[in-house]
C-alpha cells in the first residue's frame, strides 16, 4: 500500500513558495485579519460566468478550461483540462485551454495560498478543485435538461458533451442547454466519479492542446508581443555582482538610429528603442562606469576551497553563519565503531538557460498597470509591481503568456526582470508598451543560479556494511535571501532530499547539518531544487557503500528501504528493473531512486565511456505519481527531465571569477544536444492515490544513475559535477 499523497506531500512540495509569499506579504505591510488572497485580490476583476472561474462554455457547446497555472512546457494545461473534461463529460476533442488572469484569491494555488506555479504542484493542488468544477457544471446541465424535458435527473446521462435521456430518446448538446443550465444553482457538493469510472483520465487520449500552435509558429510568447506604438528596451547590467552605476555617457548610444531614450534604473542603464536591434546597438554604444566598491568579488574555485574547509571543520566561518542541524537521530556524541566511509562532493553554480531569455512587456501610466509575459508567480509579480507604481496589487493586470521554459527562473520573489521592465515603462509613461528583452548574455551572467554546493559525509557501517551512523555536512547558499523576511533557521530547500531520505531513516545515528553562507551571487530554485545535489549525494553514496560491503547496489537499497518502510521506493525500483530486463551487452548499468515533490522515481541507466566521456544509451524510468492523469505527458516529463538533469550532470557549469560569470552563452555553457540524448522508456506505477507532480522529480535521478554505472564499470566514484570537465 502506498503512502497517501495528499495535503502532507503537497505541502512539503511547496514549502519554499509558502515561505516566499508569506515573507513578501509581511514585507508589504498589509492588513491583518484577512487571508492573503482576500487582500491581494482587492481591485481585481472577479466577474465570472455561470460555471465559475475555471469553465467557459460557448453557444456552440465548446468547453474552455481556464488554467490558473502557467504552461512553460510541463504539459499541465493538458492535465488540468482533462480533469475538468472527465467530470463534465465534455467532448475532449473540442476542449480548449485559456490562461487565467491574475487573481490571488480565485486562482490561488491551494498549496501556496496565492497564485503561482511551482514545486510540481499544478495538477496536485488543482485535482479536487477542478473535479468539483467539472462535476458541478455537469450537474447544472443535467438539472437543466431534467427541467426542460420534465424527466427525472437520475435518468439523464452525459457523454462527450451531449446530454441524453435514453428511454425518451431526447438529447441536447451543452450549447442547446446553455441558457437553462446557467440559471441552475450549482450543487454545494457535486457528486464526483469513482476513479474506476474515468474514461479520459489515465488514457493516451489526454494529449497536449498546444502542439499545433507550437509547431506552426503561432504560439505566443513574450518575445512575440507586438503592440501599437511599442518600444523595445535593453539594460546594460553590472559586469560584477554588487556593482552599481557610477556614471554613464549616452552620447553615442543616442546617435544610434532608432534609439529613443537612455536612462538609469536601479539595476543598470536602460536603452529604449524603436526595435530590438536598435536597442542592442544602442546598448553597445553606451558607456557606463561602474562602482565596484561594494562587490564581494567571489570566485568559484575559492568558494569550493572554503566550503571544503568549513565542512571539514577547518578555517574560519563567515560572520553570523552558524552550522544548523537539519536532522538528528540517536546519540551523535557517541560515534559508532566500525568501517568508515568518507566522501565529499562538489556542485557548481548552474544557469537555468531557458530557451527564451528573460523578457517582459509592461504598460504603465495613463490609467494602465499591465504586464504581459510568462508570469510564474503572478501574485508576487503583482506585489512587486504595485510597490513601484503605488497601487493595490490586485489592480496590476497580468496577461500570462506561454514561456519558453522556466525551470524555476521565472518564479522569482524579486520579480527581477519584470520589475526592471516596470521601472522602464513607468519612466516612458502614458501606458506606452515597453518590451524588455534580455539577451542570452544578460540571461546567463546576471543570474540567478543553482547555488554552488559542497557535501561532506562520514558514515560508519556495521559488519554487514549497513550504516550505523551518518554524519552529513552541506554548505550552500540559502534560496531565501532577498525575501523581505529571510527565513530564520533552516532553509529547507537546501537540504530536502538528504533530510527525509529513507537511508537516514534506516540509520540509527544521524548528525546532519547545513551551513548557509551569505554571498552576493544571486541564487534561486533550479528544476528539482535541493534534490539537484542531495539526490546525487545520497544515491551515489549508497552505491559506493554497497560496493564496499560487497553487495549488489539494488539489493542493498532494497534492504534499507525495507528497514525505512519506503514501500513506494521499493515498488518503483522493482518496476524499473523488471521493465529494463537484461543489461544490453556492452553497456554498464546504474540505478538511482529519489522522491521529490511527493513523487518517487527510479531510473536504470545504461552507460558507456567513449574516449572517457559518458554516453547514455537507454534509460528505463518508473514513476509513482499517484493517479496518472496524462500518461503521455508524464512520459514527456520523464524524457525531458532526464535530459535536463543529464545536461547538468555531464556538462553544466557556471563559474564565477572575481564576482563575474565566465560563461556568457551556449558556446561556453554546454548543454545536452540531440545526439547526446538517451532513449527513455517510462513506466507508471498504478496507483489510487491523489496525483502528485512530474515536472521536477525526473530531473535529479539521472546523474547519480549515470555515476553509478561508471562506478560499476571502472570502480571510480564521481565526486564533482559536471562529469565532463572543461
Amino acid at each position: 500500500m502506498n503512502a497517501p499523497v495528499k495535503s502532507q506531500e503537497l505541502k512539503s512540495g511547496s514549502t519554499r513558495r509558502e515561505l516566499v509569499v508569506g515573507a513578501t506579504l509581511v514585507g508589504g505591510a498589509l492588513l491583518v485579519g484577512c487571508s492573503p488572497g482576500d487582500i491581494l485580490a482587492m481591485g481585481a476583476k472577479s466577474d465570472f460566468g455561470a460555471f465559475g472561474p475555471f469553465i467557459k462554455i460557448g453557444a456552440d457547446g465548446a468547453v474552455t478550461v481556464i488554467s490558473k497555472h502557467i504552461e512553460f512546457g510541463q504539459g499541465n494545461h493538458a492535465g488540468l483540462a482533462a480533469i475538468v473534461a472527465e467530470e463534465l463529460d465534455a467532448d475532449w476533442s473540442k476542449v480548449k485551454v485559456e490562461q487565467a488572469a491574475a487573481n490571488a484569491k480565485i486562482y490561488a494555488n491551494i498549496g501556496i495560498g496565492v497564485q503561482g506555479t511551482g514545486g510540481s504542484t499544478a495538477i496536485a493542488n488543482s485535482w479536487m478543485q477542478l473535479r468539483n468544477a467539472g462535476a458541478s457544471a455537469r450537474a447544472m446541465f443535467v438539472d437543466a435538461a431534467a427541467a426542460k424535458w420534465s424527466l427525472p435527473a437520475a435518468e439523464i446521462t452525459v457523454k462527450d458533451g451531449v446530454v441524453s435521456h435514453a428511454k425518451s430518446g431526447k438529447s441536447a448538446g451543452f450549447g442547446d442547454l446553455l441558457a437553462e443550465a446557467a440559471k441552475i444553482t450549482p450543487p454545494k457538493t457535486p457528486v464526483l466519479k469513482a476513479p474506476k469510472a474515468f474514461t479520459l483520465i489515465g488514457t493516451d487520449r489526454v494529449r497536449r492542446k498546444d502542439s499545433q500552435a507550437k509547431s506552426d509558429g503561432t504560439a505566443r510568447f513574450t518575445q512575440d508581443v507586438q503592440l501599437p506604438n511599442m518600444l523595445t528596451a535593453m539594460v546594460a547590467h553590472a559586469p560584477r555582482f554588487g556593482a552599481t552605476v557610477a556614471s554613464f555617457d549616452a552620447t553615442e548610444a543616442k546617435k544610434v538610429a532608432g534609439v529613443v531614450d537612455v536612462f538609469q534604473i536601479p539595476t543598470g542603464v536602460a536603452v529604449v528603442a524603436q526595435n530590438t536591434w536598435a536597442a542592442k546597438a544602442g546598448r553597445e554604444a553606451l558607456k557606463v562606469t561602474w562602482d565596484e566598491s561594494k562587490c564581494q568579488k567571489h570566485s568559484s574555485d575559492k568558494l569550493t576551497a572554503d566550503y571544503t574547509d568549513w565542512a571539514a571543520g577547518k578555517g574560519t566561518l563567515p560572520e553570523k553563519t552558524p552550522w544548523q542541524v537539519f536532522q538528528t537521530q540517536g546519540d551523535a556524541t557517541k560515534p559508532a565503531q566500525g568501517q568508515i566511509f568518507e566522501a565529499a562532493y562538489d556542485f557548481p553554480f548552474l544557469a537555468h538557460a531557458t530557451m527564451e531569455p528573460m523578457n517582459c512587456v509592461a504598460e504603465i501610466g495613463g490609467g494602465k498597470n499591465k504586464l504581459t509575459f510568462g508570469s510564474q508567480i503572478p501574485t508576487v509579480d503583482q506585489l512587486n509591481t504595485a510597490k513601484i507604481v503605488m497601487t493595490l496589487p490586485g489592480k496590476v493586470e497580468i496577461e500570462t503568456l506561454f514561456a519558453g521554459g522556466s525551470f524555476g527562473r521565472r518564479g522569482n520573489y524579486q520579480s527581477d526582470y519584470a520589475v526592471e521592465c516596470v521601472h522602464i515603462a513607468k519612466k516612458v509613461g502614458g501606458g506606452r508598451p515597453v518590451k524588455l528583452v534580455w539577451t542570452r548574455e544578460d540571461d546567463m551572467t546576471a543570474g540567478y543560479f543553482r547555488p554552488l554546493t559542497h557535501h561532506r559525509l562520514k558514515i560508519v557501517t556495521d559488519k554487514d556494511g549497513y550504516p550505523m551512523s551518518w554524519t552529513h555536512r552541506v554548505v550552500t547558499q540559502s534560496l531565501m535571501k532577498g525575501s523581505p523576511t529571510p527565513t530564520k533557521g533552516i532553509d529547507e530547500t537546501t537540504v530536502e532530499g538528504t533530510k527525509g531520505s529513507p537511508y537516514l531513516k534506516a540509520t540509527p545515528v544521524v548528525d546532519a547539518q547545513v551551513l548557509m553562507p551569505d554571498l552576493d551571487v544571486p541564487v534561486l530554485w533550479w528544476r528539482s531544487v535541493g534534490a539537484t545535489h542531495t539526490a546525487f549525494v545520497m544515491e551515489h553514496t549508497i552505491d559506493q557503500l554497497a560496493r564496499k560491503a560487497g553487495k549488489d547496489p539494488v539489493a542493498y537499497r532494497l534492504a534499507l528501504y525495507e528497514k525505512a518502510g519506503a514501500k513506494r521506493h521499493i515498488a518503483v525500483l522493482n518496476l524499473a528493473l523488471e521493465k529494463a530486463g537484461a543489461v544490453t551487452p556492452g553497456w554498464s548499468r546504474g540505478v538511482a531512486v529519489h522522491e521529490s515533490f511527493g513523487t518517487v522515481v527510479a531510473q536504470v541507466a545504461e552507460v558507456q565511456l567513449v574516449d572517457g566521456v559518458p554516453k547514455v544509451g537507454r534509460v528505463v524510468a518508473a514513476v509513482d505519481c499517484g493517479i496518472a492523469i496524462a500518461p503521455n505527458q508524464i512520459a514527456a516529463q520523464m524524457e525531458g527531465g532526464i535530459c535536463y538533469g543529464l545536461s547538468a550532470g555531464l556538462f553544466g557549469r557556471v563559474s564565477v571569477k572575481d564576482g563575474a560569470v565566465e560563461q556568457t552563452n551556449f558556446d561556453t555553457y554546454r548543454v545536452l544536444r540531440n545526439s547526446e540524448a538517451p532513449h527513455v522508456e517510462t513506466h507508471i506505477l498504478p496507483s489510487g492515490n491523489a496525483p502528485s507532480g512530474v515536472g521536477e522529480p525526473g530531473v535529479p535521478v539521472i546523474a547519480p544513475a549515470v555515476a553509478n554505472a561508471i562506478l560499476a564499470l571502472n570502480g571510480q566514484a564521481t565526486n564533482s559535477l559536471p562529469m565532463v570537465k572543461g
Partner: protein, 157 residues
C-alpha cells in the same frame, strides 16, 4: 535605404540597415514571429530558417548577404506539413520555443535525405538546442514523417 528580400515566396522591401541580422527583420519588421531569438550567436538554432533550402541561423546573418536568396520561415510550412503533423501526433513540443527552428532544420534534412538514418538526424539536428529535452520525440517525429515507422513514445502504465 531599403533592402528587398524574398521571404516565403514574397518580395518584401525592408527598411532595416543592411548589417541587421535577418532574424530581427523577420520578427520586428516583417511581423513573422515564428522564428525565435535564443542566443544571438548561431549556437542554439531557435532562429533557424532556410536560405535556398539550406538551414541558416538567422540571428547571425545580415540581410545584406541575402539578396536574391529565397528565405523560408516556419510560416511557410503552412501548418499541416508532414513534419508538423508528426510533431503534433507525437506531442513533440513542451515549452515550444525552439520548435520552429527544429522544424526548419528537419525540413531541410528530409528535403535532402528523405530516409534519414540516426546518424543523419544527429548531424542535421545537433545545432538545435531544446532545453526541455524533447529530443527523443523530435527524432521519432522525423522518422514518422519520413515514413520510417511510428516510433511513438508513450508511457506504459
Amino acid at each position: 535605404m531599403a533592402t528587398t528580400l524574398d521571404i516565403n515566396g514574397k518580395s518584401v522591401a525592408v527598411s532595416a540597415a543592411p548589417e541587421t541580422p535577418l532574424l530581427w527583420v523577420l520578427r520586428d519588421e516583417a511581423g513573422l514571429t515564428g522564428s525565435k531569438f535564443g542566443c544571438g550567436i548561431g549556437q542554439c538554432g531557435a532562429c533557424t530558417v532556410l536560405a535556398d533550402g539550406t538551414p541558416i541561423r538567422s540571428c547571425s546573418i545580415p540581410i545584406a548577404s541575402l539578396a536574391g536568396v529565397k528565405i523560408a520561415t516556419i510560416e511557410s510550412l503552412g501548418g499541416s506539413h508532414a513534419l508538423q503533423q508528426a510533431w503534433v501526433k507525437h506531442d513533440v513540443p513542451q515549452c515550444g520555443y525552439c520548435q520552429s527552428g527544429q522544424l526548419m532544420s528537419a525540413t531541410a534534412l528530409l528535403a535532402k535525405t528523405p530516409k534519414p538514418t540516426d546518424a543523419d538526424i544527429d548531424a542535421a539536428m545537433d545545432g538545435n538546442i531544446c532545453r526541455c529535452g524533447a529530443y527523443q520525440r523530435i527524432r521519432a517525429a522525423i522518422k514518422d514523417a519520413a515514413g520510417l515507422g511510428d516510433a511513438a513514445e508513450t508511457a506504459k502504465a
